[in-house]
Protein backbone atom coordinates (compact mmCIF):
# COMPACT_ATOMS: atom_id res chain seq x y z
CA UNK A 1 0.00 0.00 0.00
CA UNK A 2 1.32 3.40 -0.90
CA UNK A 3 1.79 6.03 1.78
CA UNK A 4 -1.10 8.06 0.37
CA UNK A 5 -3.61 5.26 0.45
CA UNK A 6 -2.43 4.34 3.96
CA UNK A 7 -3.01 7.93 5.01
CA UNK A 8 -6.48 7.98 3.52
CA UNK A 9 -7.18 4.62 5.09
CA UNK A 10 -6.17 5.87 8.53
CA UNK A 11 -8.14 9.05 8.05
CA UNK A 12 -11.21 7.04 7.06
CA UNK A 13 -10.73 4.81 10.10
CA UNK A 14 -10.55 7.76 12.46
CA UNK A 15 -13.53 9.54 10.93
CA UNK A 16 -15.49 6.31 11.12
CA UNK A 17 -14.60 5.90 14.78
CA UNK A 18 -15.66 9.51 15.29
CA UNK A 19 -18.94 8.92 13.50
CA UNK A 20 -19.67 5.75 15.47
CA UNK A 21 -18.99 7.64 18.67
CA UNK A 22 -20.93 10.69 17.55
CA UNK A 23 -22.75 10.88 20.85
CA UNK A 24 -19.42 11.82 22.33
CA UNK A 25 -18.92 14.48 19.69
CA UNK A 26 -22.33 15.90 20.41
CA UNK A 27 -21.29 15.98 24.05
CA UNK A 28 -18.26 17.94 22.97
CA UNK A 29 -20.49 20.49 21.32
CA UNK A 30 -22.59 20.73 24.45
CA UNK A 31 -19.42 21.30 26.47
CA UNK A 32 -18.40 24.16 24.21
CA UNK A 33 -21.88 25.65 24.45
CA UNK A 34 -21.79 25.51 28.24
CA UNK A 35 -18.45 27.27 28.25
CA UNK A 36 -19.77 30.04 26.03
CA UNK A 37 -22.62 30.52 28.47
CA UNK A 38 -20.26 30.50 31.42
CA UNK A 39 -18.08 33.16 29.87
CA UNK A 40 -21.11 35.39 29.53
CA UNK A 41 -22.06 34.77 33.16
CA UNK A 42 -18.52 35.39 34.36
CA UNK A 43 -18.06 38.59 32.40
CA UNK A 44 -21.49 39.90 33.29
CA UNK A 45 -24.21 41.55 31.27
CA UNK A 46 -21.78 43.92 29.59
CA UNK A 47 -22.71 43.84 25.90
CA UNK A 48 -19.71 45.90 24.85
CA UNK A 49 -17.18 43.61 26.48
CA UNK A 50 -18.92 40.49 25.24
CA UNK A 51 -19.11 41.73 21.71
CA UNK A 52 -15.52 42.89 21.66
CA UNK A 53 -14.07 39.69 23.05
CA UNK A 54 -16.40 37.20 21.38
CA UNK A 55 -13.62 35.63 19.27
CA UNK A 56 -11.56 35.09 22.43
CA UNK A 57 -14.42 33.28 24.17
CA UNK A 58 -15.07 31.06 21.19
CA UNK A 59 -11.45 30.04 20.90
CA UNK A 60 -11.08 29.47 24.64
CA UNK A 61 -14.09 27.18 24.48
CA UNK A 62 -12.61 25.33 21.50
CA UNK A 63 -9.24 25.03 23.23
CA UNK A 64 -10.82 23.54 26.31
CA UNK A 65 -13.00 21.17 24.31
CA UNK A 66 -10.00 20.09 22.25
CA UNK A 67 -8.52 18.56 25.41
CA UNK A 68 -11.53 16.29 25.74
CA UNK A 69 -11.34 15.35 22.08
CA UNK A 70 -7.61 14.69 22.05
CA UNK A 71 -7.49 12.75 25.30
CA UNK A 72 -9.61 10.00 23.86
CA UNK A 73 -7.96 10.33 20.48
CA UNK A 74 -5.72 7.37 21.05
CA UNK A 75 -7.92 5.54 23.51
CA UNK A 76 -9.11 2.94 21.02
CA UNK A 77 -5.59 2.29 19.88
CA UNK A 78 -4.22 1.73 23.36
CA UNK A 79 -7.00 -0.48 24.63
CA UNK A 80 -6.64 -3.97 23.27
CA UNK A 81 -3.27 -3.23 21.76
CA UNK A 82 -4.64 -1.95 18.48
CA UNK A 83 -1.69 0.40 18.08
CA UNK A 84 0.79 -2.45 18.18
CA UNK A 85 -1.35 -4.35 15.73
CA UNK A 86 -1.44 -1.46 13.31
CA UNK A 87 2.29 -0.93 13.53
CA UNK A 88 2.94 -4.62 12.91
CA UNK A 89 0.96 -4.56 9.67
CA UNK A 90 3.24 -2.59 8.89
CA UNK A 91 1.49 0.74 8.82
CA UNK A 92 3.60 3.75 8.06
CA UNK A 93 3.62 5.72 11.34
CA UNK A 94 3.37 8.93 9.33
CA UNK A 95 0.08 7.71 7.89
CA UNK A 96 -1.14 6.92 11.40
CA UNK A 97 -0.22 10.33 12.71
CA UNK A 98 -1.43 12.44 9.81
CA UNK A 99 -4.61 10.44 9.45
CA UNK A 100 -5.47 11.07 13.06
CA UNK A 101 -4.30 14.67 13.04
CA UNK A 102 -6.42 15.46 9.98
CA UNK A 103 -9.43 13.76 11.54
CA UNK A 104 -8.97 15.84 14.69
CA UNK A 105 -8.54 18.93 12.53
CA UNK A 106 -11.84 18.28 10.76
CA UNK A 107 -13.71 17.67 14.00
CA UNK A 108 -12.28 20.80 15.64
CA UNK A 109 -13.06 22.91 12.57
CA UNK A 110 -16.64 21.66 12.62
CA UNK A 111 -16.90 22.40 16.32
CA UNK A 112 -15.56 25.93 15.88
CA UNK A 113 -17.74 26.73 12.90
CA UNK A 114 -20.78 25.54 14.85
CA UNK A 115 -19.78 27.67 17.82
CA UNK A 116 -19.77 30.86 15.79
CA UNK A 117 -23.53 31.17 15.26
CA UNK A 118 -24.07 30.43 18.96
CA UNK A 119 -21.56 33.10 19.92
CA UNK A 120 -23.20 35.46 17.45
CA UNK A 121 -26.47 35.03 19.30
CA UNK A 122 -25.14 35.04 22.85
CA UNK A 123 -22.73 37.93 22.44
CA UNK A 124 -24.73 39.92 19.90
CA UNK A 125 -22.00 40.08 17.33
CA UNK A 126 -22.15 39.58 13.61
CA UNK A 127 -19.57 37.05 12.59
CA UNK A 128 -20.27 37.12 8.88
CA UNK A 129 -17.95 39.98 8.00
CA UNK A 130 -15.72 37.91 5.76
CA UNK A 131 -16.98 34.32 5.75
CA UNK A 132 -14.40 32.86 3.42
CA UNK A 133 -11.45 34.45 5.21
CA UNK A 134 -12.97 33.47 8.53
CA UNK A 135 -13.26 29.84 7.50
CA UNK A 136 -9.64 29.86 6.37
CA UNK A 137 -8.55 31.35 9.69
CA UNK A 138 -10.58 28.76 11.58
CA UNK A 139 -8.95 25.92 9.66
CA UNK A 140 -5.47 27.30 10.30
CA UNK A 141 -6.22 27.80 13.98
CA UNK A 142 -7.61 24.30 14.44
CA UNK A 143 -4.59 22.96 12.59
CA UNK A 144 -2.43 24.67 15.18
CA UNK A 145 -4.26 22.70 17.84
CA UNK A 146 -4.57 19.41 16.00
CA UNK A 147 -0.93 18.72 15.14
CA UNK A 148 0.72 19.21 18.54
CA UNK A 149 -2.42 17.90 20.24
CA UNK A 150 -2.35 14.60 18.37
CA UNK A 151 1.36 14.20 19.14
CA UNK A 152 0.84 14.83 22.83
CA UNK A 153 -2.21 12.58 22.86
CA UNK A 154 0.00 9.75 21.65
CA UNK A 155 2.72 10.72 24.10
CA UNK A 156 0.44 10.71 27.12
CA UNK A 157 -1.76 7.83 25.96
CA UNK A 158 -0.46 5.29 28.39
CA UNK A 159 0.24 7.54 31.36
CA UNK A 160 -1.84 7.57 34.49
CA UNK A 161 -2.87 11.19 34.49
CA UNK A 162 -3.44 11.71 30.79
CA UNK A 163 -6.28 14.17 31.35
CA UNK A 164 -3.94 16.31 33.43
CA UNK A 165 -0.81 15.89 31.37
CA UNK A 166 -2.25 16.62 27.98
CA UNK A 167 -3.48 20.16 28.72
CA UNK A 168 -0.45 20.97 30.88
CA UNK A 169 1.86 20.03 28.03
CA UNK A 170 -0.26 21.30 25.17
CA UNK A 171 -1.48 24.70 26.32
CA UNK A 172 1.87 26.48 26.67
CA UNK A 173 2.85 25.09 23.31
CA UNK A 174 -0.19 26.48 21.51
CA UNK A 175 0.15 30.03 22.88
CA UNK A 176 1.29 31.34 19.47
CA UNK A 177 -1.55 29.90 17.36
CA UNK A 178 -4.12 30.86 19.99
CA UNK A 179 -2.80 34.40 20.16
CA UNK A 180 -2.70 34.66 16.39
CA UNK A 181 -6.05 33.06 15.67
CA UNK A 182 -7.97 35.23 18.13
CA UNK A 183 -6.40 38.34 16.60
CA UNK A 184 -7.08 37.09 13.10
CA UNK A 185 -10.68 36.20 13.91
CA UNK A 186 -11.27 39.65 15.40
CA UNK A 187 -9.85 41.24 12.29
CA UNK A 188 -12.05 39.12 10.02
CA UNK A 189 -15.12 39.93 12.04
CA UNK A 190 -14.60 43.56 12.95
CA UNK A 191 -12.69 44.74 9.93
CA UNK A 192 -9.00 45.20 9.29
CA UNK A 193 -8.22 48.90 8.79
CA UNK A 194 -4.45 48.52 9.06
CA UNK A 195 -4.04 45.36 7.05
CA UNK A 196 -2.69 43.28 9.92
CA UNK A 197 -4.52 40.11 9.00
CA UNK A 198 -1.82 38.84 6.69
CA UNK A 199 0.84 39.03 9.43
CA UNK A 200 -1.26 37.04 11.88
CA UNK A 201 -2.19 34.51 9.24
CA UNK A 202 1.51 34.30 8.39
CA UNK A 203 2.38 33.56 12.01
CA UNK A 204 -0.32 30.89 12.12
CA UNK A 205 1.04 29.44 8.92
CA UNK A 206 4.59 29.29 10.27
CA UNK A 207 3.44 27.53 13.42
CA UNK A 208 1.29 25.09 11.45
CA UNK A 209 4.06 24.21 9.01
CA UNK A 210 6.54 23.77 11.87
CA UNK A 211 4.33 21.50 13.94
CA UNK A 212 2.73 19.51 11.17
CA UNK A 213 6.21 18.50 9.99
CA UNK A 214 7.80 18.15 13.43
CA UNK A 215 4.80 16.27 14.76
CA UNK A 216 4.96 13.54 12.15
CA UNK A 217 8.64 12.96 12.67
CA UNK A 218 8.43 12.96 16.48
CA UNK A 219 5.41 10.65 16.41
CA UNK A 220 7.28 8.19 14.24
CA UNK A 221 10.20 8.15 16.69
CA UNK A 222 7.81 7.84 19.61
CA UNK A 223 6.08 4.68 18.42
CA UNK A 224 9.22 3.11 17.02
CA UNK A 225 10.20 0.98 19.99
CA UNK B 1 23.07 59.67 43.01
CA UNK B 2 19.40 59.91 42.21
CA UNK B 3 18.10 58.40 39.03
CA UNK B 4 14.77 59.03 37.38
CA UNK B 5 13.29 56.04 39.18
CA UNK B 6 13.03 56.47 42.92
CA UNK B 7 13.32 53.90 45.63
CA UNK B 8 14.90 51.22 43.51
CA UNK B 9 17.42 50.03 46.07
CA UNK B 10 15.00 47.92 48.06
CA UNK B 11 13.94 46.00 45.00
CA UNK B 12 17.53 45.63 43.81
CA UNK B 13 18.66 44.17 47.12
CA UNK B 14 15.63 41.91 47.22
CA UNK B 15 16.38 40.62 43.72
CA UNK B 16 20.04 39.95 44.47
CA UNK B 17 19.29 38.31 47.81
CA UNK B 18 16.57 36.13 46.32
CA UNK B 19 18.78 35.06 43.43
CA UNK B 20 21.81 34.20 45.50
CA UNK B 21 19.59 32.50 48.04
CA UNK B 22 18.02 30.38 45.32
CA UNK B 23 21.35 29.35 43.84
CA UNK B 24 22.84 28.41 47.20
CA UNK B 25 19.67 26.61 48.24
CA UNK B 26 19.55 24.63 44.99
CA UNK B 27 23.19 23.67 45.36
CA UNK B 28 22.61 22.51 48.92
CA UNK B 29 19.54 20.60 47.82
CA UNK B 30 21.58 18.80 45.19
CA UNK B 31 24.23 17.91 47.76
CA UNK B 32 21.63 16.54 50.14
CA UNK B 33 19.89 14.51 47.42
CA UNK B 34 23.22 13.07 46.27
CA UNK B 35 23.99 11.79 49.70
CA UNK B 36 20.79 9.77 50.18
Amino acid sequence: MSAWSQLLGCLYKDLLIGWRGRARLIGLGAYALVLLLLFAFAIGADPVALREHAPAYVWLAVLSASTLLLVQSFQQEVEGGALEGLLLLPTDPFALYYGKAIANLLILTLLTLLSFPIAAILYDVSLLGAPLALTGVVVLGCAGLAAPGTLYAALTARTQAQQLLLPVLLFPLVVPPMLAVVRATSLCVAGDPMGQLSSWVGLLGVFDILYWSLGGYLFARLVEE
Amino acid sequence: MNGVVEGGWGYVIAAYALSWGTWVAYLLLLKVRSRS
Binding site: E84, P172, P176, R183, L214, R221 | M1, V5, G8
Partner: protein
Protein backbone atom coordinates in the same frame (compact mmCIF):
# COMPACT_ATOMS: atom_id res chain seq x y z
CA UNK C 1 38.09 16.96 42.44
CA UNK C 2 34.99 16.83 40.31
CA UNK C 3 34.93 19.33 37.48
CA UNK C 4 31.59 20.76 38.57
CA UNK C 5 33.06 21.80 41.91
CA UNK C 6 35.85 23.70 40.20
CA UNK C 7 33.59 25.23 37.61
CA UNK C 8 30.98 26.08 40.21
CA UNK C 9 33.47 27.57 42.64
CA UNK C 10 35.07 29.64 39.92
CA UNK C 11 31.74 30.70 38.48
CA UNK C 12 30.25 31.77 41.78
CA UNK C 13 33.42 33.66 42.70
CA UNK C 14 33.46 35.50 39.39
CA UNK C 15 29.76 36.32 39.54
CA UNK C 16 30.11 37.39 43.16
CA UNK C 17 32.90 39.83 42.33
CA UNK C 18 30.98 41.19 39.35
CA UNK C 19 27.87 41.67 41.47
CA UNK C 20 29.77 43.38 44.27
CA UNK C 21 31.31 45.71 41.73
CA UNK C 22 28.01 46.32 40.02
CA UNK C 23 26.17 46.99 43.25
CA UNK C 24 28.64 49.25 45.00
CA UNK C 25 31.25 50.57 42.59
CA UNK C 26 29.64 51.07 39.21
CA UNK C 27 27.59 54.23 38.67
CA UNK C 28 23.84 54.07 38.62
CA UNK C 29 22.20 54.07 35.25
CA UNK C 30 21.12 57.36 33.70
CA UNK C 31 17.46 56.69 33.10
CA UNK C 32 16.73 53.82 35.42
CA UNK C 33 18.56 54.91 38.55
CA UNK C 34 19.42 52.23 41.02
CA UNK C 35 17.14 49.64 39.43
CA UNK C 36 19.53 49.53 36.49
CA UNK C 37 21.88 47.58 38.73
CA UNK C 38 19.62 44.60 38.25
CA UNK C 39 21.10 44.27 34.81
CA UNK C 40 24.11 42.42 36.23
CA UNK C 41 21.71 39.92 37.70
CA UNK C 42 18.90 39.73 35.20
CA UNK C 43 20.73 39.24 31.93
CA UNK C 44 23.14 36.54 33.18
CA UNK C 45 20.17 34.68 34.65
CA UNK C 46 18.45 34.93 31.28
CA UNK C 47 21.51 33.45 29.58
CA UNK C 48 21.57 30.69 32.18
CA UNK C 49 17.93 29.82 31.63
CA UNK C 50 18.05 29.88 27.86
CA UNK C 51 21.38 28.08 27.85
CA UNK C 52 20.03 25.34 30.08
CA UNK C 53 17.03 24.76 27.86
CA UNK C 54 19.33 24.70 24.86
CA UNK C 55 21.41 22.01 26.58
CA UNK C 56 18.18 20.13 27.29
CA UNK C 57 17.28 20.37 23.60
CA UNK C 58 20.68 18.97 22.63
CA UNK C 59 20.21 16.19 25.17
CA UNK C 60 16.78 15.39 23.74
CA UNK C 61 18.25 15.09 20.26
CA UNK C 62 20.87 12.81 21.77
CA UNK C 63 18.12 10.63 23.23
CA UNK C 64 16.41 10.35 19.86
CA UNK C 65 19.67 9.87 17.98
CA UNK C 66 21.51 7.35 20.11
CA UNK C 67 19.46 6.72 23.21
CA UNK C 68 21.18 5.81 26.43
CA UNK C 69 20.99 7.01 29.99
CA UNK C 70 23.59 9.76 29.65
CA UNK C 71 21.47 11.77 27.25
CA UNK C 72 18.28 11.18 29.21
CA UNK C 73 20.02 12.30 32.40
CA UNK C 74 21.16 15.42 30.55
CA UNK C 75 17.59 16.21 29.56
CA UNK C 76 16.37 15.80 33.11
CA UNK C 77 19.12 17.89 34.69
CA UNK C 78 19.14 20.66 32.10
CA UNK C 79 15.36 21.03 32.20
CA UNK C 80 15.36 21.25 35.98
CA UNK C 81 18.17 23.82 36.14
CA UNK C 82 16.50 25.73 33.32
CA UNK C 83 13.26 25.90 35.28
CA UNK C 84 15.04 27.10 38.43
CA UNK C 85 16.77 29.85 36.43
CA UNK C 86 13.66 30.81 34.50
CA UNK C 87 11.42 31.02 37.56
CA UNK C 88 14.09 33.17 39.16
CA UNK C 89 14.19 35.26 36.00
CA UNK C 90 10.45 35.83 36.14
CA UNK C 91 10.65 36.93 39.77
CA UNK C 92 13.57 39.24 38.97
CA UNK C 93 11.60 40.70 36.09
CA UNK C 94 8.72 41.35 38.45
CA UNK C 95 11.02 43.05 40.96
CA UNK C 96 12.37 45.20 38.14
CA UNK C 97 8.96 46.05 36.79
CA UNK C 98 7.51 47.23 40.07
CA UNK C 99 9.77 50.25 40.75
CA UNK C 100 10.19 51.02 37.06
CA UNK C 101 6.63 50.87 35.75
CA UNK C 102 4.55 50.55 38.90
CA UNK C 103 3.12 47.13 38.12
CA UNK C 104 4.27 43.70 39.20
CA UNK C 105 3.85 42.34 35.70
CA UNK C 106 4.45 43.76 32.26
CA UNK C 107 3.64 41.80 29.17
CA UNK C 108 7.16 42.29 27.99
CA UNK C 109 7.79 39.69 25.25
CA UNK C 110 10.92 38.27 26.87
CA UNK C 111 9.36 38.00 30.30
CA UNK C 112 6.13 36.53 28.95
CA UNK C 113 7.99 34.03 26.79
CA UNK C 114 9.98 32.98 29.84
CA UNK C 115 6.79 32.43 31.81
CA UNK C 116 5.33 30.28 29.03
CA UNK C 117 8.58 28.32 28.80
CA UNK C 118 8.51 27.64 32.54
CA UNK C 119 5.10 26.02 32.23
CA UNK C 120 6.06 24.09 29.11
CA UNK C 121 9.22 22.64 30.61
CA UNK C 122 7.62 22.07 34.00
CA UNK C 123 5.23 19.87 32.04
CA UNK C 124 8.21 17.83 30.88
CA UNK C 125 9.24 17.23 34.49
CA UNK C 126 5.69 16.29 35.44
CA UNK C 127 5.68 13.91 32.49
CA UNK C 128 8.86 12.28 33.78
CA UNK C 129 7.20 11.61 37.10
CA UNK C 130 4.15 10.01 35.53
CA UNK C 131 5.81 7.67 33.04
CA UNK C 132 7.45 4.75 34.74
CA UNK C 133 9.12 2.66 32.09
CA UNK C 134 12.58 4.11 31.52
CA UNK C 135 12.69 3.81 27.73
CA UNK C 136 9.23 5.30 27.29
CA UNK C 137 10.01 8.03 29.78
CA UNK C 138 13.23 8.95 28.00
CA UNK C 139 11.50 9.04 24.62
CA UNK C 140 8.50 10.97 25.92
CA UNK C 141 10.62 13.62 27.68
CA UNK C 142 12.82 14.00 24.63
CA UNK C 143 9.84 14.54 22.32
CA UNK C 144 8.21 17.00 24.72
CA UNK C 145 11.50 18.87 25.18
CA UNK C 146 12.07 19.20 21.45
CA UNK C 147 8.51 20.35 20.83
CA UNK C 148 8.71 22.89 23.66
CA UNK C 149 12.08 24.27 22.64
CA UNK C 150 11.10 24.58 18.99
CA UNK C 151 8.17 26.66 20.19
CA UNK C 152 10.30 29.27 21.97
CA UNK C 153 11.06 31.54 18.99
CA UNK C 154 7.46 31.33 17.79
CA UNK C 155 6.12 32.23 21.23
CA UNK C 156 8.53 35.16 21.44
CA UNK C 157 7.53 36.46 18.03
CA UNK C 158 3.83 36.13 18.66
CA UNK C 159 3.97 37.85 22.06
CA UNK C 160 6.12 40.62 20.57
CA UNK C 161 3.58 41.31 17.83
CA UNK C 162 0.67 41.01 20.21
CA UNK C 163 2.24 43.46 22.59
CA UNK C 164 3.25 45.94 19.94
CA UNK C 165 -0.42 46.40 19.14
CA UNK C 166 -0.99 48.13 22.44
CA UNK C 167 2.24 49.87 23.30
CA UNK C 168 5.73 50.14 21.91
CA UNK C 169 8.19 47.91 23.69
CA UNK C 170 10.67 49.94 25.70
CA UNK C 171 14.27 48.92 25.42
CA UNK C 172 16.57 48.49 28.37
CA UNK C 173 18.79 51.17 26.89
CA UNK C 174 22.47 51.15 26.01
CA UNK C 175 25.06 50.17 28.55
CA UNK C 176 27.81 52.52 29.75
CA UNK C 177 31.41 51.18 29.56
CA UNK C 178 31.97 51.18 33.31
CA UNK C 179 28.89 49.04 33.60
CA UNK C 180 29.88 46.87 30.67
CA UNK C 181 32.74 45.15 32.50
CA UNK C 182 30.85 43.76 35.50
CA UNK C 183 28.00 42.97 33.12
CA UNK C 184 30.10 40.81 30.81
CA UNK C 185 31.99 39.24 33.69
CA UNK C 186 28.73 38.29 35.38
CA UNK C 187 27.40 36.74 32.15
CA UNK C 188 30.60 34.81 31.68
CA UNK C 189 30.70 33.57 35.27
CA UNK C 190 27.04 32.59 35.13
CA UNK C 191 27.69 30.20 32.27
CA UNK C 192 30.17 28.37 34.50
CA UNK C 193 27.68 28.31 37.37
CA UNK C 194 25.04 26.94 35.05
CA UNK C 195 27.34 24.25 33.70
CA UNK C 196 28.28 23.25 37.24
CA UNK C 197 24.65 23.03 38.35
CA UNK C 198 23.67 20.97 35.32
CA UNK C 199 26.74 18.77 35.86
CA UNK C 200 25.91 18.08 39.50
CA UNK C 201 22.28 17.43 38.73
CA UNK C 202 23.38 15.15 35.87
CA UNK C 203 25.38 12.99 38.26
CA UNK C 204 22.36 12.68 40.49
CA UNK C 205 20.15 11.75 37.53
CA UNK C 206 22.67 9.17 36.31
CA UNK C 207 22.94 7.49 39.70
CA UNK C 208 19.15 7.29 39.95
CA UNK C 209 18.80 5.87 36.45
CA UNK C 210 21.48 3.30 37.15
CA UNK C 211 19.83 2.31 40.41
CA UNK C 212 16.54 1.94 38.58
CA UNK C 213 18.23 -0.18 35.96
CA UNK C 214 19.62 -2.56 38.57
CA UNK C 215 16.32 -2.81 40.45
CA UNK C 216 14.40 -3.85 37.35
CA UNK C 217 16.34 -7.12 37.23
CA UNK C 218 13.65 -8.47 39.51
CA UNK C 219 11.15 -10.66 37.63
CA UNK C 220 8.21 -8.75 36.20
CA UNK C 221 4.76 -9.92 37.02
CA UNK C 222 2.79 -10.34 33.79
CA UNK C 223 0.79 -7.23 33.02
CA UNK C 224 -2.00 -7.01 30.43
CA UNK C 225 -1.26 -4.59 27.59
CA UNK C 226 -3.94 -2.10 28.48
CA UNK C 227 -2.45 -1.53 31.92
CA UNK C 228 1.04 -0.72 30.67
CA UNK C 229 2.51 2.40 32.14
CA UNK C 230 0.87 1.99 35.53
CA UNK C 231 3.14 0.85 38.36
Amino acid sequence: MKWEAIAGGLGFAVVGVAHAFGLFVAPSEAAMGETGRMLYLHVPTAWAGMGSFLVAFVGAIGVLWTGGKRWDALVESAVEVGIVMSVLLTVQGSLWARPTWGTWWTWDPRLTTTAVMVVAFAGVLVLRHLVHRPERRAMASAVATIASFADVPVVYLSVKWWRSLHQPISNAGTVDTLMLVPFLVACFGMLFVCAALIGSRWRLAMSRLEREDRASDLPDRPVPLSLEGRP
